[in-house]
């Protein structure tokens, strides 16, 4: 009780200083304050080299190369284990003795509610508006390859998780980088520790960026959009929106009002399903435009008229948005998946294949198709507004539904990321009330900052921090590939020879 009072009081005093500054232009002030930092961070992470006139950021090459190598190393695990992954999610191998523990379905659904969200709605719109329809092709390909990255990191996340004496579980890259690499020898132990610390630092940044500011920013943009765009009385009140969201998030993470989070976790899947169904409905209503859309996607992927950087530019946009949306290789999902009940870590890897598949191959493709077939593609509109306009061509009331969905997605993603960030934070600074509250208050500050900034600055910072996590994470994964391979082979032999016990679901 006292903990929550301390948190909320300091939160209020933090914001109390804002309205004093000036009645107008608070947004602008926050924006100007943060922008130099966000530019510097983005510049460092996206150090790039020119290919065919386009600056290709090294981090993107890093992600795609890893996903490709993992796919080949595990001999197309993303296809091979697709069916078995589904059987696991369906509960075919669920141990009845473990009823009441976290099932594969629950681990996947939880991880998905952290990733399905604005990346699928706003991110795809950005990709298609900057890279043309062809970007969709590369997005699907990146999602497909990303399945193997998720497989690798989630298997490791379960294998090297910490099961504490009090019955709680913590897992994720911090743990497998430290424990996994330590198994390989003394020199590796220090290297692993270094990677884990780097990962934790970037993860905290990511929890302030893509997991927070980007969410606040885009959900606010959508709210302004439905309430009348530029003319809306909310248009210059980003800080106010940020304040409201910060209070709601604060109630959950500081006030410990779990009910709000629990309700969100139950509504979000239904919003996602509603979104997918509405998208499918629009596609069906325009079924005659679908072949043309696919033709545009395929030809656009390899020709790219009028797109900056030609084909490379298109590829870059598609890969970038896919990576941001499904977070494969970033390591965040390994934290979410690690609480599952299983004694075969590789099973959670199979289940995790479905995350990029649902997130990118299914949901992102639907968004892209809706934007393309409704002819809403307009380079002057960006982010979530483009998607909103596209859906509005079929259902005029849909922007309102989308607004609710966007708000809920943003909220649940923030709650998830506040947890990831906190785990990284306590990994660095230890677990106690002071470090705990410090992190949470910082987190809430960035909610307000995110909704006050222009989209460009927010996206750059968000991308930078989320992608930076991939450096230590994937580097460590390369060294741990043999561990995953050993688990995989042993399990696959058991599976193929029928030694696994199937549950009697009668």
């Amino acid at each position: 009780m006292s903990k929550s009072r301390v948190g909320i009081t300091s939160l209020l005093s933090l914001f109390a200083s804002f309205p004093v500054l000036a009645d107008t232009g608070i947004d602008e002030k926050i924006n100007l304050f943060i922008k130099p930092y966000s530019d510097a961070v983005a510049g460092a992470v996206f150090s790039s080299f020119p290919v065919a006139g386009v600056d290709i950021p090294f981090v993107l090459v890093w992600l795609i190369v890893a996903a490709t190598i993992f796919t080949l190393y595990f001999r197309f695990i993303n296809i091979r284990a697709f069916k078995h992954g589904f059987e696991l999610v369906r509960g075919d191998y669920h141990d009845p003795q473990a009823a009441g523990e976290v099932t594969h379905f629950q681990a996947l659904a939880t991880a998905l509610s952290g990733t399905v969200g604005l990346g699928n709605i706003a991110g795809v719109a950005v990709a298609v508006s900057l890279g043309g329809p062809g970007a969709t092709f590369w997005m699907i390909l990146a999602g497909f390859l990303g399945m193997s990255s998720k497989f690798t990191e989630c298997t490791l996340g379960v294998k090297y998780r910490d099961e504490h004496a009090d019955g709680t579980v913590s897992g994720g890259p911090m743990y497998y980088l430290t424990k996994g690499l330590a198994e390989r020898g003394k020199g590796f132990a220090r290297f692993g520790k270094l990677l884990a610390v780097l990962f934790a630092i970037f993860c905290i940044g990511g929890s302030f960026g893509g997991g927070n500011m980007f969410q606040a920013n885009q959900s606010f943009a959508q709210l302004v959009n439905v309430t009348g765009g530029e003319a809306s009385w909310m248009a210059d009140k980003g800080w106010l929106y940020g304040l409201v969201i910060a209070v709601l998030v604060g109630l959950v993470i500081i006030g410990g009002i779990k009910g709000i989070a629990r309700v969100t976790s139950k509504i979000v899947p239904f919003m996602a399903i509603t979104y997918v169904l509405a998208g499918l409905a629009i596609i069906l209503m325009n079924y005659d435009a679908v072949p043309t859309a696919f033709a545009a996607i395929f030809t656009g992927a390899f020709t790219a008229h009028g797109i900056t950087g030609g084909v490379i530019g298109v590829l870059f946009q598609g890969f970038k948005r896919a990576a941001f949306s499904n977070e494969a290789g970033v390591g965040s999902a390994a934290i979410a998946h690690s609480a599952v009940q299983t004694n075969r870590p590789v099973t959670e890897g199979f289940v995790a294949l479905y995350e990029p598949f649902i997130d990118t191959v299914v949901v992102c493709t639907i968004t892209a198709l809706v934007i393309i077939i409704t002819g809403s593609l307009d380079p002057s509109v960006d982010g979530v507004q483009l998607t909103s306009n596209a859906f509005a061509t079929a259902f005029t009331w849909f922007p309102w539904v989308l607004t609710v969905a966007v708000l809920l997605f943003a909220f649940s993603t923030m709650i998830s990321w506040s947890y990831y960030g906190l785990k990284a934070w306590t990994f660095l600074f230890g677990e106690n009330k002071v470090t705990d509250s410090t992190y949470k208050i910082l987190f809430l500050f960035f909610v307000v900052a995110g909704s006050s900034m222009q989209l460009g600055a927010v996206i750059d910072f968000s991308d930078a921090m989320i992608f930076a996590m991939a450096f230590p994470n994937l580097l460590g994964c390369y060294f741990l590939l043999p561990v995953v391979k050993k688990e995989l082979n042993a399990y696959w032999d058991d599976y193929k020879s029928g030694r696994l016990v199937k549950t009697d679901n009668r």
Binding site: G91, A99, G100, T110, V169, S265, K266, I415
Partner: protein, 144 residues
Amino acid sequence: MSPVLMVGIDCSECGDRAVEYAIKQARLTNARLIIAHIIEWSQFSFSTVEENAQRHRRREEELQRAHGEIVDPIVARLKADGLEVQGLVRHGHVADTLEKLARENGVTNIILGRNGKSMFKKHVFGSVGAHLVQSADCAVTVVP
């Protein structure tokens, strides 16, 4: 082989009539007794990351509470009465799990107390008794 009676208990008081009936039957037929309590749980529900991380601990707590507050007191009372009795607590869908427990333990008769839910609730959510009458492999007795 002696008969095995299984009593499904909702909460500490509401199974009382079912338990009394079961005691009478057990004395008459020299039957073994099982006192079962099911904690409503679905493997397809949605949860937050934090809930998942704490799930194992919560489950232990739920099992402990169910045993301590609901099942064990009844078991102790019946044992003191000289009956052969065993307490079981499981997570799952109530009717399905009772049915499974019955199969696993060779139960010959499942005994339930009627909980007097309103017609509306019964129609919308179904009742455990009605479900078991339709699908169980053994006799089902519903005590009014």
